[in-house]
């Protein structure tokens, strides 16, 4: 049976492939020639200066609104016993007032599945992707807020009791908020229990890591991160897909199988990573990440499988760091 994807492609082809425009090139070209010569049209002389003036006023009013938003995230931990426990998403709303228990404001499948607030301020998260199981979250919480230091977001949460059930209204600050300054929607989560998940046993996936050292003369050197992509063929030299700060910033790869380097937060410990031909091995996390080296547009790039918590705990496919050889 053909996959759903190919069914969609086929139905598009069968319904659109035969459609063709009635307009001819000659008429479009003729019109282009007529308009191309009009350098000083009324439209250009009147509306463009007015438009420019309005744009300038708007720009001065809103400031540099297109810069990425960076929320304050360095708050101390303050306990909130009412937040501790497991919460499960039931809806996604633009405003908390839109939520009605038992009804769904959002018609879309919910990306966020569960959140566990632990006593120490740490969190677990499950999303409706991969195996959907709880995995360690990159964010922490303090009373009234969830803080993501990597993405620099501070998302408010509020707990309300409706018809005898506790619901959490949690601001969802994704890229639309950070880069496009859109109002964040709210996930509505229903309290499943008030247990502390600090001792929760996560189901971790591990790779075979006991490989002998095989040399790869192409690998040693200094590599600097230039992008983070979902697949190797998505990378284009000179352009960047990912937004925001890259977590892994540099690899210093020695010829003896050792790897050092930097993340945006700190230096990578020298004993954490090793390599052998085709693999970079994290002995602590027990994962072996494949790497590929490619020559593109005159430069040498390293594509490194990023096996983070999403891979280890949630069964998701790894993305790739792209690093450029600088030395």
């Amino acid at each position: 049976m053909a996959s759903f994807d190919s069914e969609i492609k086929t139905v598009f082809k069968s319904n659109l492939d035969d459609a063709s425009p009635a307009i001819k090139f000659s008429s479009v070209w003729e019109q282009h020639r007529k308009t191309a010569g009009k350098r000083f049209s009324f439209k250009k002389m009147v509306f463009i200066p007015i438009g420019a003036l309005v744009s300038l006023v708007v720009l001065l009013t809103v400031g540099f609104s297109f810069a990425a938003i960076k929320d304050k995230t360095d708050y101390p931990f303050i306990n909130d016993p009412s937040a501790i426990g497991l919460w499960e998403s039931v809806d996604l709303v633009d405003q908390p007032g839109q939520f009605v228990p038992g009804k769904h404001f959002s018609e879309d499948p919910l990306f966020l599945k569960q959140l566990a607030f632990m006593k120490d301020g740490n969190m677990l998260i499950a999303i409706n992707k991969g195996n959907g199981k709880l995995s360690p979250a990159s964010c922490t919480w303090t009373k009234g807020m969830v803080l993501d230091k990597q993405d620099k977001t501070n998302s408010k949460y509020e707990i309300k009791e409706i018809d005898g059930t506790a619901y959490m209204f949690f601001e969802w600050k994704c890229g639309d908020y950070t880069y496009f300054h859109m109002e964040p929607p709210y996930f509505v989560l229903k309290q499943v229990n008030n247990e502390d998940y600090s001792k929760y046993k996560l189901e971790a996936r591990s790779d075979k890591i006991d490989y002998p050292f095989v040399n790869d003369p192409q690998l040693p050197g200094v590599w600097e991160s230039v992008d983070f992509v979902p697949a190797i063929d998505e990378f284009k030299p000179g352009t960047r897909i990912s937004r925001g700060e890259l977590f892994l910033t540099r690899f210093d790869i020695a010829g003896n199988g050792k790897i050092g380097g930097m993340t945006s937060e700190k230096a990578i410990p020298n004993d954490l990573l090793t390599w052998t031909k085709g693999l970079i091995i994290d002995r602590k996390g027990k994962v072996a990440s494949k790497y590929e080296i490619k020559e593109m547009a005159g430069d040498t790039y390293l594509f490194y499988e990023w096996k983070s918590g999403g891979y280890i705990y949630s069964g998701m496919q790894p993305d790739y760091y792209v690093l450029k050889k600088v030395k």
């Binding site: 659109l16 009635a22 019109q31 308009t35 191309a36 991969g130």
Partner: protein, 180 residues
């Protein structure tokens, strides 16, 4: 900088006008609007050709222009509708006649056409124009994550509706999230 030559323009029009028209037809559901959008798109392409970076592929640039013009046209059309001009429906009627020969495909096509404009945009760019997700995200002017989520949402809606109607027996266990 020198503008586009007639030869270059003709080649671009020959290579891309069918797809631009098909994109506009699918989104506007009107052959007349699709013709207007195609014409306006190529007028823009020819006018702004000097700003196009020849080191990059041309199709994302053209499709982005086409999509922007389609959106503006549809926005204008909404205003016209408010003033009582009846929307054109010849496209759907003719398509329905064509696709009745395949009931299963007709059901899917009908559902695809009933998706929201945002969903249809992402579906047509990714599945019909065969753009990569990153290219689709760039053309739509949204982050990659939003693009993936929008596509997943559209697929899930389609699948749910089809399952509800029991017209298509989709493969059980298809991982719609496999694309992300």
């Amino acid at each position: 900088m020198k503008g586009i030559s007639q030869k270059q323009a003709e080649e671009i029009f020959r290579d891309y006008s069918p797809k631009v028209y098909q994109l506009a037809l699918f989104l506007s559901k009107s052959p007349a609007l699709a013709d207007d959008i195609t014409q306006d798109t190529f007028l823009q392409v020819f006018k702004k050709y000097t700003s196009y970076d020849p080191q990059r592929p041309i199709y994302p640039w053209i499709y982005k222009i086409a999509l922007n013009i389609t959106r503006n046209t549809l926005r204008r059309q909404k205003w016209l509708d408010l003033f009582g001009e009846p929307p054109e429906c010849g496209y759907l009627t003719s398509v329905e006649n064509i696709i009745l020969r395949d009931e299963l495909a007709a059901e899917l096509w009908q559902k695809v056409n009933k998706l929201t404009l945002k969903s249809r945009e992402v579906i047509v760019l990714h599945y019909y124009l065969e753009l990569k997700l990153q290219e689709t995200a760039t053309i739509l002017g949204i982050p990659l994550g939003t693009c993936k989520s929008r596509l997943n949402s559209a697929l899930s809606t389609l699948r749910k509706q089809l399952e509800e109607n029991s017209h298509l027996q989709l493969k059980k266990g298809d991982d719609l999230y496999g694309i992300v």
